[in-house]
């Protein structure tokens, strides 16, 4: 079963209600029990008071009488509940002694209970008071006939709490002890508890229903939101507008809208890229077609041959473009790749060597400045592509007699060490305005007749992003040309 906030809330609400209800019940039950005890103690005290005043004859008569101290008599016609001790007869026992400790009168039942003598811890002269003691058994003959359920048959001594009240009367010198079996199952207490619990018990199902419905109602904005999202078409990416929504749902809507807007931007980028890519692929295709048609229509073999060579050039160009597009697409797929520690200077030397022939042919000087060893953490294939693009780019835009420098150095900026790779030239350079657009896909510098795809620096920028490096442009050698600077974060071992 999936987790449900509604169920969870229901559970919490009901657990809380049950807890509070239980505490209220318990405390009211205890309170009522206490009240009953106090009331019975007061009655004992009253009775003891009376005993101090009675004369010997009355005391003797009284000692032979059953004094029934039940709390409640069954009303006519109503059957007393079996579990209500209030309605059971309870014998009140007493013992009166004079100032010398002689017994003036005593209920005979005190003897079998083992309560003939006052408890030793109670000094006879003391003011006495109310106590609860446990005595071994119920008075003989009580309860007559049917013993209450759960109790052993009559006659057998059973332990049971008794309330006792001891009063010392200074005027008559009498010490009066009054005993009464404790009313352990008073209806007064349970009744009070029941009166409190019953309405709640009845209210509970209604409460449950109300809570269930209100929680459900509170979740309406969420249901509405999911309906709105559900009803959306795949290309419907405008922000969700739900008018006024609760503050709990607002962050969710905001987060979804934020995601939608990023998705929208990414799709726009994707579409632009696809359109641009198609556009860029059309140009070499057009060239190939035109040249092929020139070759077909050419009268002399020399012209035909020339045109066919250009067809091959065009195909090479399309292939390179396709390769670059694929590389960009692959780079876009991943966020970051794990790298390994590699020597940047060594890689730079390799790439320079690979481009040496092209540079010499075009009369451009190319060199690595410095010979220290620099290590970075990166992916070697990507670093190779990056270096190749940078150097190829520099060579492409330079004229005969220009030169290209590759420099690697360490740089400390605010405690963070970086390894900075710079490729600079003294070629025609790029205006500040255009520098910002250099990494745009398919952007080509305006002052050029070079036949690049305009993807080289986009690829560089993407790779730089990969390694968490940074890319910047500036003036090249002696303030002329262009310098491309890439700052790699240092490897941990440096």
């Amino acid at each position: 079963m999936p987790a449900s906030i509604r169920r969870h809330l229901m559970l919490l609400v009901f657990a809380s209600i049950a807890l509070v209800w239980g505490i209220a019940l318990l405390s009211s039950f205890r309170h009522a029990t206490h009240e009953v005890e106090e009331w019975e103690d007061a009655r004992l005290a009253e009775f003891a008071q009376t005993l101090t005043l009675l004369d010997q004859n009355d005391l003797t008569v009284l000692s032979k009488t059953h004094i029934d101290a039940r709390d409640e008599y069954s009303r006519a016609g109503s059957n007393g509940a079996d579990d209500d001790d209030d309605k059971l007869p309870r014998d009140m026992l007493f013992q009166v002694r004079d100032a010398h400790g002689r017994i003036l009168a005593s209920s005979p039942d005190l003897m079998p209970l083992g309560a003939w003598d006052p408890p030793s811890e109670l000094p006879p002269q003391s003011q006495g008071g109310a106590h609860t003691i446990t005595l071994g058994g119920r008075v003989a003959g009580q309860p007559a006939g049917q013993p209450p359920a759960g109790q052993p048959p009559a006659g057998q001594p059973i332990k049971q709490p008794w309330h006792t009240y001891t009063l010392y009367d200074g005027a008559s010198g009498r010490t009066v002890r009054v005993l009464e079996p404790a009313n352990t199952r008073s209806d007064l207490a349970t009744g009070a508890a029941r009166r409190i619990s019953e309405p709640i018990a009845f209210a509970l199902p209604i409460l449950a229903l109300l809570v269930w419905v209100s929680i459900g109602h509170s979740f309406r904005p969420l249901r509405l939101l999911s309906k709105v999202i559900h009803a959306r078409e795949i290309n419907q990416l405008e922000p969700i507008d739900m008018g006024r929504s609760p503050s709990e749902v607002r962050p969710l809507i905001d987060a979804i809208n934020h995601l939608l807007s990023r998705l929208r931007q990414s799709i726009v980028r994707e579409r632009t890229f696809t359109a641009d890519a198609a556009h860029e692929l059309k140009t070499p295709l057009a060239a190939i077609k035109v040249q092929a048609q020139v070759a077909l229509a050419a009268q002399d073999t020399l012209q035909q041959r020339l045109a066919m060579e250009r067809v091959v050039q065009g195909v090479d160009r399309s292939a390179r473009l396709a390769e670059q597009l694929l590389l960009l697409a692959r780079l876009d797929e991943h966020d970051r790749m794990p790298g390994s520690v590699l020597a940047l200077d060594g890689l730079a030397r390799d790439v320079i060597a690979a481009n040496e022939e092209q540079a010499q042919r075009r009369g451009i000087g190319i060199a690595l400045v410095g010979d220290a060893r620099f290590e970075i953490v990166a992916e070697p294939v990507l670093v190779n592509i990056l270096l190749d693009n940078l150097i190829d780019n520099a060579l492409k835009y330079c004229d005969s007699g220009d030169r290209v420098e590759v420099e690697i150095r360490r740089n400390n900026v605010r405690a963070a060490q970086t390894v900075v790779l710079t490729v600079r030239d003294n070629g025609p350079g790029v205006g500040i305005e255009e520098q910002r657009r250099l990494t745009d896909r398919f952007f080509r510098g305006t002052g050029t007749s070079s036949t690049g795809s305009g993807l080289g620096l986009s690829i560089v920028a993407r790779i730089v992003e990969y390694f968490g490096a940074s890319l910047s442009f500036g003036a090249g050698i002696e303030g002329r040309g262009l310098a491309v600077e890439i700052a790699f974060p240092c490897s941990a071992s440096d």
């Binding site: 295709l285 057009a286 190939i288 077609k289 035109v290």
Partner: protein, 219 residues
């Protein structure tokens, strides 16, 4: 017939240039907007083939400038952006025709011919003048249904004069229609071609206008 080709892509430029030459046009090739601008201010062209994606000065800017200074030379636009909106945008900026890349070279040449024909106020490709029937597309000239062989230069002078009937063409104007930038202009070439044409097609076809040049009178 001299055409200005404005195209930044080397391979396409070379191909179109070769194709147009094969079709008998004199071609000047400008690789960017500024060079094209300069060419258009100094030379009279029969037609401009313009690529829109140009460095230095976008093709559409060049087109707007061309129309704003009142030049009504026909312009055929080439572009890789072939959506309807792109075509409409190009045409509304003053282009006469639009061709998306990749295009067919034969179609490009046919469209160039059609634009030239229309700019000369002709509806048919074939020019009939007295007993002459001249077909610029097929490059055939018939005199009284007899085919006359003409060299490429003679052909260019004849078409230039026939398409501007009644308007005297100066020697330099005729030279312009004969040679592209790279070609050496031979001295007295125009006189030689005119005298050859007179020999082949009749002395009364081309009249010399003293101090100005040559004219083919209105039929």
């Amino acid at each position: 017939m001299r055409i200005l080709l404005v195209e930044d892509d080397d391979l396409i430029g070379l191909g179109v240039e070769a194709g147009l030459r094969q079709a008998g046009f004199a071609v000047d090739w400008a690789r960017d907007g500024r060079a094209a601008n300069l060419a258009l201010t100094t030379t009279t062209y029969a037609l401009v083939v313009l690529d829109l994606g140009l460095p230095k000065m976008p093709g559409i800017e060049l087109l707007k400038w061309l129309r704003s200074c009142g030049k009504d030379v026909p312009v055929l636009v080439l572009s890789a952006r072939g959506t309807v909106a792109d075509r409409v945008g190009g045409l509304e900026c003053g282009a006469d025709d639009y061709l998306g890349k990749p295009f067919d070279l034969t179609e490009l040449i046919a469209r160039c011919r059609a634009l030239l024909r229309r700019s000369q106020g002709r509806s048919a490709e074939v020019i009939r003048y007295r007993d002459l029937t001249v077909d610029p597309a097929a490059r055939t000239a018939l005199r009284c249904d007899v085919r006359v062989q003409l060299t490429a230069r003679e052909w260019a002078v004849l078409v230039q004069l026939l398409t501007h009937q009644g308007v005297p063409q100066s020697r330099s104007r005729l030279e312009e229609s004969l040679y592209g930038w790279q070609e050496e202009i031979e001295s007295n070439a125009v006189e030689v071609h005119v005298s050859n044409l007179r020999k082949k097609l009749g002395t009364d076809l081309i009249r010399t206008v003293r101090g100005i040049g040559y004219v083919v009178e209105k039929a």
